[in-house]
Symmetry: C2
Subunit: 131 residues, 2 copies
């Protein structure tokens, strides 16, 4: 906690991140990770490295443009490594960094919980909709 | 895995959810949990039950309308319990269901990782932006 008369600088915030604070730099990072495509992309790369087109097939429904933008954000935040292989034609492979692997592991825990609890969620949804 | 000539019914999908499949019912549920406000709302309610106005202060930046909609979605999916207390004036309190507690615990793991790794994320962002 910091007294209200001692506003924290951006540097302080880096060391005491708080996603509940609207201006905290951790919020957009969390948003990239858990956004519409970021979470699925990280979880897919948690299975294995992928080339772009194979990754796009795995993350069913994502457009080329959205996958490209998502990968750029994840690379900028340090979660994804992009490697150009000097073959003819060149191949580009995406993989997780060590930090990305830790994030993907926690995301996968969350996804597996949701998948396994879908019968309970459906029961709740049906009860709510019958009200 | 199911052979392509045996399309799975919605009921089958409930027992073998796969968020990677674009039509899977688990995808919108994951989206609610990890969406712009759903994740923060669940994480806040993981701290304690809240009344609406206090919750809105905790989830800094959310509008009344968005918090209300988020809570409805989380209640419909069975993660949040809404209780009207028969006082004058009536009070409405929101808390997590047992399933919501399990989801919030995994979300909190993810949020704490992101918060603690923000210095590494900033280093990666600065390196990327200098390219």
């Amino acid at each position: 906690m910091t007294a209200p008369d001692q506003p924290r600088s951006a540097d302080d915030a880096a060391f005491e991140a708080d996603v509940f604070a609207r201006a905290c730099a951790s919020r957009p990072v969390l948003q990239t990770i858990t956004g519409r495509w970021g979470g699925l992309t990280l979880a897919a790369l948690g299975e294995s490295p992928y080339r772009f087109s194979a990754l796009r097939r795995r993350v069913d429904g994502v457009s080329e443009r959205m996958l490209s933008q998502t990968l750029q954000e994840l690379e900028r935040d340090g979660f994804v490594h992009r490697e150009v292989q000097e073959t003819i034609p060149p191949k580009v492979e995406y993989s997780l960094t060590p930090l990305g692997q830790r994030v993907a592991a926690r995301l996968t825990d969350l996804i597996e919980l949701v998948e396994s609890e879908m019968p309970a969620v459906r029961v709740a949804q049906n009860a709510y909709d019958r009200r």
